[in-house]
Symmetry: C2
Subunit: 142 residues, 2 copies
DNA sequence: TTAGAATCTCCAGCGACTGGAGGATTGAGG
DNA sequence: CCTCAATCCTCCAGTCGCTGGAGATTCTAA
């Protein structure tokens, strides 16, 4: 293999993405099918590194694969308008904020559960009581 | 079937848990194997309703199935000490708090992404720029 | 009697990977 | 040149907590 191309293991090291995950991304079409050597091994280049880093970073920031697929398509057309990318990012932001709100409500309930317990028998354990009856909760829905 | 017992559909209505989910809980041992009628249909009683409501409420509060399994075992022994239940709940609380912290960091990054965009071409889109290079981020790790 | 509702079992799919089995190929040291 | 570990390949199964569909049976009410 020429030195200018990377084997899958080298790509994995450069990007921090595990080898099976790289193959998985190819299988779902997030990465294009990599050209193969004569012995059927995948080869990559610097563009692959950039693309995979983009994917990895987007995943770390919580974007779903479908959103990343669209973001990649948009990124491939630098002359086009960026509004769609922004819409995607704003939707993701809204999703994160909603998850935080729900988790904060959960946190309050679970905190009340543990703080209300006198640490005695199960019979009088506030944790068990609350689990057994949602009426002990502050929030109507979880 | 005697009127004092419930069919699975009735149990589902009483608890808000879907029928396939009830069967799933039985299959993984969260619910005991339900006694069957002569024609092989599952039968339940009021104790089943209480147990399933407990499970459902714990799930709504975000407890994992393994934790619920332990909580149920503890709840079945009202005379025992409740410390284990409290440990489980505290661990869950810590997990929720850690998830919130991580999500807040994500929210900050994604918010910065969208707020920094001038809504022009992809070429200069801040969303795309940040995704392509983690160096634009505030936090070292996500 | 008969239609339709309810139940049964088995199995596949979701999302986003992760890892193992079993086999082929490569590269480096002796 | 030879051997052997490292690397790579494909295929498949498992993760978690459900969810729903297919096809068969049984119950219920008109
Ligand atoms: Zn307690
Ligand atoms: Zn509640
Ligand atoms: Zn933009
Ligand atoms: Zn980043």
């Amino acid at each position: 293999m020429p030195t200018s191309t990377l084997a899958i293991g080298a790509l994995a090291k450069r990007t921090g993405v595990k080898i099976p995950t790289i193959r998985y991304y190819e299988s779902i079409g997030l990465l294009p099918e990599a050209p193969r050597t004569g012995s059927n091994r995948r080869t990559y280049d610097e563009a692959s590194v950039r693309r995979l880093r983009f994917i990895r970073h987007a995943r770390e920031l919580g974007f779903e694969v479908e959103a990343i697929r669209q973001l990649l398509t948009l990124a491939d057309d630098p002359g086009g308008p960026c509004r769609e990318a922004d819409v995607l990012a704003r939707a993701h932001l809204a999703e994160i904020e909603s998850r935080i709100t729900r988790l904060e409500a959960l946190r309050d309930e679970v905190r009340r559960m543990v703080e209300g317990c006198a640490q005695d028998q199960v019979r009088s354990c506030h944790v068990i009581e609350v689990l057994a009856d949602h009426a002990h909760c502050l929030h109507e829905r979880h």
